[in-house]
Amino acid sequence: MSGTHAHTVPYVAETHYPAEPAPVSTTGPIAWLRENLFSSWLNAAITLICLAFILWIVPGILDWAVFKSVWHAKSLSECREIIVQTYGEGTTGACWAVIHERLGQLLYGFYPVDQRWRPDVTLLLLITAMIPLLFQTMRPLVVVMAALIGVKILIAAYLAVTENTLGSLFGPTTIVAIVIGGLAYFFGDTHHRTRWLVFTIVFPILAYFLLWGGIILEPIPSSRFGGFLLTMVIGVTGIAGSLPLGILLALGRQSKLPILRLICVTFIEFIRGVPLITLLFVASTLLNYFLPPGTNFDLILRVLIMVTLFASAYMAEVIRGGLAALPKGQYEASDTLGLTYWQGMRLIILPQALKISIPGIVNTFIGLFKDTTLVAVIGLLDPLGLTNPIRSDANWNGIVWELYGFIAFLFFVCCWGMSRYSMYLETRLRAADRR
């Protein structure tokens, strides 16, 4: 009796079928194309339309941004002249010269030029502090530092040929990169992770000292902070502060103590009900009335507090969602085993609740990072705040796309990075516990 025989009569299998490879036409790139892009007439039509659209729009953009762009010029009119001279009447191209000239300002604001290595080093240390939180080993740090040193050598080589100097090849950043990269290379295994985390805890103090100075470093007043440096200071502090604060608020909102619950709910609802700009205005002007006269409470510090509080209210709600999604049995199992409230939260509940909340948490982070641009409204010179002085400069009057495009690009890289990381993290955690 064959295996394909209809089972209308009593049947006992007599053959054992060995596994065979899938038919060639169902695997490989051709099959992928057929399945995903040309599976039906409608799908094929959409694919073709999209292709046509890409072919139509991308060359135009590339032409403007790359092939017909100008990097060296003193003013917008000079840019336009160069373009017309080289490519003929009526052509338009990007005038990146403005970015070239103002790059330092866009990145550091009015931080003294000879002190700009300090924010650079702080950024390297920030990366160092983040890697043990984000990854299992320190390998990514080795890669980052190696890449950085590589880039610096390339730049130095370029400068050596064109301008006969080595630039900042032997500056503090290179040294720090080599030291950190080396340490990460030799002590980068998982079992060293706790030691790196100790550094993460110390980092805020270090960063404060490096950025604002004091003791041996020249003190830099907050008023000189600006550009992307300011964005990073506000964004990173807000992110680092809002997560723990949000967790505490979310737990407080679930607490059995009515007073605590009331405080948390009031705080969350109040902060969520008020626009961030209002809070920033409160920080910049009104707060002075409430503080004792004579106290000089740094404006950036006030903004940091407001942004952190604002983000933490949203964070609390995101995390509450994660807490609510956990089955009640997890709380009960943790209770029956005799774990205290905080042990249960730390070891059982939060790891799971935070995992569920990752998309929402990262969403809040990204929102917070972009909201830092609102500080321009109260006169802080973040990249967007700097566009006004630059555009009112007689030389660059009328420049729009290049400036905003560059700022958008900076923000996009950061936000996209966060988004990609969260996807990586979700995959990693999902691989760890398949339910």
Binding site: P327, G329, Q330, E332, A333, D335, T336, L337, G338, L339, T340, Q343, L347, I348, P351, Q352, K355, L429, A432, D433, R434, R435
Partner: protein, 265 residues
């Protein structure tokens, strides 16, 4: 004290199921309300050390609520519960003390999905008993061997079958070396073929002299290991007897009806 229950897994010789004169759990005039709803009415139950009680009854009769009161997962409003001489009050210290002594196994296992099987078992010994990690691992492996799944130690709960998960849950509770084990319908979420493997482990545990209170409808298990079967209906204990007379000669009409219903299929 010679016949006091011991729970050391190395001594698994199935000795006689001894019952001590000492009281493990004493429940006196227990009353509980959910809002206006009177779930538990004047419950009186004394469980001696080494005794194995099976609680059964129709759905909604308050079985789960009763055993959840014993380790303070639910608060009671009247009456007293004493576990190993400690009376349960709202004092958090006492609650923690009692929870360390009382293991619980749930219908839906409630393993921690983000931890491996081994970590599930060592978590409480390490954090609650401050046991060194190596020792906790050894203890956990001993109990995992006893519930016959040492080879799954490094998997995650999601990778195990229901029966295996429930056996891990039992091992996890045993790792705290409890004096009393509570089971709330441990097999009712399982497929028939897995029920046996879990019941085998529970029978084995009963033979070591563990004090056990099991809410279950596995009447075969009740006959085999229970000293007493307690039948509950509408929040009160209707009948309580040794298994033989309970099954062959039930006294109360509710018991008779219930038994005829569950023994019919």
């Amino acid at each position: 004290m010679a016949n006091v229950a011991h729970t050391d897994p190395t001594e698994t010789t199935p000795g006689p199921m001894t019952v001590s004169e000492e009281v493990a759990i004493d429940i006196v005039d227990l009353n509980k309300w959910y809002g206006e709803f009177h779930v538990l009415k004047n419950i009186n139950l004394t469980v001696n050390k080494g005794e194995r009680i099976v609680v059964c009854g129709p759905s909604g009769s308050g079985k789960s609520t009763l055993i959840r009161c014993i380790n303070a997962l639910e608060k009671h409003q009247k009456g007293s519960i004493t576990v190993d001489g400690t009376q349960l009050t709202s004092d958090l210290k006492k609650i923690d003390e009692i929870r360390k002594d009382v293991g619980m196994v749930f219908q839906h296992f409630n393993l921690f999905p983000h931890l491996t099987i081994l970590e599930n078992c060592t978590l409480a010994p390490i954090w609650v008993k401050k046991m060194p990690k190596r020792e906790a691992n050894e203890v956990a492996m001993r109990y995992l061997t006893r519930v016959k799944i040492p080879e799954q130690a490094n998997k995650y709960p999601g990778q195990l079958s229901g029966g295996q998960q429930q056996r891990v849950a039992i091992a996890r509770a045993l790792c705290m070396n409890p004096h009393v084990m509570l089971f709330d319908e441990p097999t009712s979420a399982l497929d028939p073929e897995m029920i046996k493997e879990v019941l085998d482990v529970m029978v084995d545990l009963a033979q070591t002299g563990m004090t056990m209170i099991c809410v279950t409808h596995e009447m075969g298990f009740a006959r085999q290991v229970a000293n007493r079967v307690v039948f509950m209906d509408q929040g009160q204990i209707v009948e309580s007897n040794a298994p033989e007379p309970f099954f062959t000669n039930p006294q109360h009409e509710r018991t008779q009806l219930f038994l005829s219903q569950i023994l019919a299929h």
